[in-house]
Amino acid sequence: MEVLLGITGKDFTLIAASKAAMRGATVLKASDDKTRHLNKHTLMAFSGEAGDTVQFAEYIQANAQLYSMRNETDLSPSALANFVRGELASSLRSRKPYNVNLLLGGVDPITHKPSLYWLDYLASLASLPYAAHGYAQYYCLSILDKHHHPDITLHQGIKILNMCTDELKRRLPIDFKGMTVKAVTKDGIIDIEFDDDKVVKSA
């Protein structure tokens, strides 16, 4: 019941992840951050099996930062997406594969083009205008199909994100404790204030 959402717009990529850290039917933490900054203009959100997620995400984060230090230049979001895919693909055919689903959002440091990459635990990679993982796909993709345009502003993006989280609150049987929301722009990664306390009446 973990929620990952990603939306691209005119000059930004929005990434949102649910705050609940769950173990079986128990909520262990209500302020979990399921995202890692890979470099100044690339952000990764992750969900999946408990130990695997953070381990894999921080392994990728460390390698991205090592590359930046060695070469005094950052990898582009597309380069990082393909690197992550390679690591996940070789893990898939190992003795104990990582069970991690990812969204990778970024803004190209040179062209300023926003991008969003969807990766599942099988290492299927897709570049998309908007994406979701887990049960959220079934509730949110139809909303995004209807309301998303490639040239929306950040303000409009957050509005659509609110429509998605409202629907999730309405339909998901377990409370996911709100969302951590971050936006990648050409100036870097910024935290977005998001109202988690809004009560949505069930249909």
Binding site: R93, W118, L122, A123, S124, L125, S127, Q137
Partner: protein, 206 residues
């Protein structure tokens, strides 16, 4: 249903014409019944006249297409010439058989023209590299049954390039409309001696 070959869905077809060949694929990427992307091409170019279509598990489509980009680049540097489609087909076959007991879940299709004679060449493979040479057409993917039916009824020998485009496009478009796991538009390549044409077909978006 949960076979690795039919999790993501997709279809691919190649045809021989008069001094030309054609290869086409759909654009869907799905997770069972859910469509994740409608822009996931499955045909890749490895030389002026060498093309490879890959259907099956999406992760292996990406892994195998990247692997052959590397292998073909290494071949070109070592031999100082471009790879011929027949040579490429044997490279695909032996590379897949290397993974005999843990295969890539893909059904490849090769299409091209011989660089010396200009003779059309198409062939298909199973996931462990057994080559299926054909003089007419090759199909693969979740819509392969439907593609066999369309190709058997539409294809005829010695079609010129324009007619071959019409034939392969109608065959693919009408086949994927009868398959829930394929569709969402198509890429069609027509390969002639001194011209390669790539066309993007919209297709039904439902």
């Amino acid at each position: 249903m949960s076979s690795p070959f039919s999790i993501n869905g997709g279809a691919c077809v190649a045809m021989v014409g008069k001094d030309c060949v054609a290869i086409a694929c759909d654009l869907r990427l799905g997770l069972q019944a859910l469509t994740v992307s409608n822009n996931f091409p499955k045909v890749f170019q490895y030389g002026e006249h060498v093309f490879l279509g890959l259907t099956g598990l999406a992760t292996d489509v990406a892994t195998v297409s990247d692997l052959f980009r590397y292998k073909v680049n290494m071949y070109r540097l070592r031999e100082e010439r471009a790879i011929a489609p027949r040579t490429f087909a044997n490279l695909v076959s032996s590379s897949l058989y290397e993974r005999r007991f843990g295969p890539y879940f893909v059904s490849p299709v090769v299409a091209g023209l011989d660089p010396k004679t200009g003779e059309p060449f198409i062939c298909g493979f199973d996931s462990i590299g057994c080559i299926d040479f054909a003089k007419d057409f090759i199909v693969s993917g979740t819509a392969s049954d439907q593609l066999f039916g369309m190709c058997e009824s539409l294809w005829e020998p010695n079609l010129p390039a324009e007619d071959l485009f019409e034939t392969i496009s109608q065959a693919l478009l009408n086949a994927v409309d009868r398959d829930a796991l394929s569709g969402w538009g198509a890429h069609v390549y027509i390969i002639e001696k001194d011209k390669v044409t790539k066309r993007l077909l919209k297709g039904r978006q439902d």
